[in-house]
């Protein structure tokens, strides 16, 4: 479980997060949604400890991240798996070496055990054996995301963070990635936080949804409740995304986009 209490964060006196409190439960997919510039990435990076917050508390079960020193923070980070927007795979390593990297760095496993673990993780994200020796530049965007997920779960993390995990993917692949994250969350009982602005993801896997608007909690609920929230800001956001989804379903027609 991750709980944030009254988080405030400013950059050059501009308040980006204002008194945010929420709780992310394990075993379910927790989504943070909001428009670009709403503060959702700052919130995610603050929870990860990449940004120091001005006020508030960030609890990883019984440990308050804010009060921990760098050494103790590093311990928590080793319990975290992270999937970045672009995958952030190491270019100079093969697919298998990318997944093995955290094992090399932080475990005392034998080479055989590491190999087994790498295969286990890559099998879980349905990467074929023939792709294990390929380099990130040789694989597709969807595969990169899968490998990034495999690397994120290689150390059996308690917490999984995903920043726009299906951006740049076609709708079908995006749904596959969403479902994959949801299944892994349930299988390994992780506390998963997904940062997204894709309404398809919200409808598919939004078991808990936190809507951020102008740095504040705009709404919180589940994907079943979201269409009947009665929240104007949230409805504006949903409408914009529905429109985008509709355009995408119709195919790539720039003229139509301009007319709209």
């Amino acid at each position: 479980m991750i709980e944030v209490k009254h988080i405030t964060k400013s950059f050059d006196e501009v308040k980006v997060l204002n008194d945010i409190s929420t709780r992310f439960e394990p075993g379910i997919t927790n989504l943070i949604i909001g428009r670009s510039g709403s503060g959702k990435t700052v919130l995610l990076k603050s929870i990860l400890g990449l940004y120091d917050i001005d006020q508030g508390e960030i609890w990883y079960n019984d440990r308050n991240l804010v009060e921990l020193n760098e050494k103790e923070r590093k311990k928590i980070r080793r319990e975290i798996g992270m999937v970045f927007q672009g995958g952030a795979l190491f270019d100079s390593f093969s697919v298998a070496a990318n997944v093995r990297f955290p094992l090399d760095m932080f475990t005392t496993m034998s080479a055989k055990e590491k190999q087994k673990r790498v295969e286990f993780c890559l099998d879980h994200v349905e990467i074929q054996h023939t792709a294990h020796k390929l380099f990130p530049s040789e694989i597709s965007g969807g595969m990169k995301k899968r490998v990034a997920i495999a690397r994120a779960i290689s150390l059996n993390p308690k917490y999984l963070f995903c920043d726009e995990p299906n951006s740049g993917l076609d709708p079908e692949t995006a749904t596959v990635i969403d479902k994959l994250i949801q299944n892994l969350t349930k299988e390994f009982h992780m506390t998963t936080i997904i940062n997204t602005h894709d309404m398809n993801s919200v409808i598919e896997i939004g078991e808990s949804v936190l809507f951020i608007a102008k740095g504040e909690v705009g709404w919180q609920g589940t994907h079943k409740e979201i269409l009947h929230s009665g929240n104007n800001k949230l409805n504006d956001f949903i409408f914009a995304n529905k429109l985008y989804a509709q355009l995408r379903e119709e195919g790539d027609k720039p003229e139509q986009k301009q007319n709209t």
Partner: protein, 234 residues
């Protein structure tokens, strides 16, 4: 940044593996360019010395001596460092800079890896380690270039050239230049690494950082050349 670079590695074995990779990619891959440049410069210097010492009152052996001392004192240490700043320095900035803008460095940090140490320390150690060897290779092939070019151009015979490069040889010149090459190795690896590590933006900014890194590395090399020459040679 340097404090983080020299912090205790999380896993020494992985850093050592990384060090060998860097020695190969930054050092061994530079050997050919060093050999080619040194042969040509050695040859050119021999012809130029012969031209400026065409007066018969100068002994022919001075051509070999001049080529040798210029190679040892300045070219194979300082000029080579300037050239390597372009080759190795831009490589380091663009590699680390690309890792920064594609979130690979954030990824290391979130894993709990000291990204500055993991990415930069092996590069600094590798370049500092390889630079004295590049210096020795450069001197050897520079002298060889002079020995081949001099007789071919008809400006000096091989026995005169060899006598010249043995004449008035001070081994301290080599020690002095080896010390310089250690300093230059550190500058060539650390300054570009700094620019790459703190780059912000995208591909355009990585390119700009790479240019800035090479320019500032060159300035620092020349500054340290002046300081070290003043301290060690006068």
């Amino acid at each position: 940044m340097l404090r983080r670079v020299f912090a205790r590695p999380e896993r020494t074995k992985i850093y050592i593996r990384q060090l060998f990779r860097e020695i190969d990619s930054l050092g061994v891959n530079s050997v050919w360019i060093v050999i080619i440049i040194s042969i040509f410069i050695g040859g050119i210097m021999t012809i130029q010395f012969a031209y400026s010492m065409s007066n018969p009152i100068y002994p022919r052996t001075l051509i070999g001596l001049g080529t040798r001392d210029t190679l040892i004192l300045e070219f194979s240490s300082t000029m080579l460092a300037l050239i390597m700043a372009g080759k190795i320095g831009s490589n380091i900035t663009s590699e680390i800079g690309t890792m920064r803008v594609t979130e690979q460095i954030d990824s290391l940090e979130i894993m709990g890896v000291n990204s500055a140490g993991y990415l930069i320390l092996p590069k600094i150690v590798a370049v500092v380690f390889i630079f004295p060897f590049l210096f020795i290779i450069s001197v050897f092939f520079g002298l060889l270039g002079g020995m081949v070019t001099g007789p071919l151009a008809g400006v000096i015979s091989i026995p005169d050239y060899i006598a010249g490069i043995q004449w008035l040889f001070y081994p301290y010149y080599v020690t002095f230049s080896l010390i310089k090459s250690l300093f230059f190795g550190f500058i060539v690896a650390s300054v570009p690494a700094y620019y790459g590590y703190y780059v912000q933006g995208g591909a355009l900014e990585v390119g700009t950082a790479s240019t800035k890194a090479v320019v500032n590395t060159n300035i620092l090399i020349l500054l340290f050349d002046l300081i070290l020459t003043r301290l060690l040679l006068t």
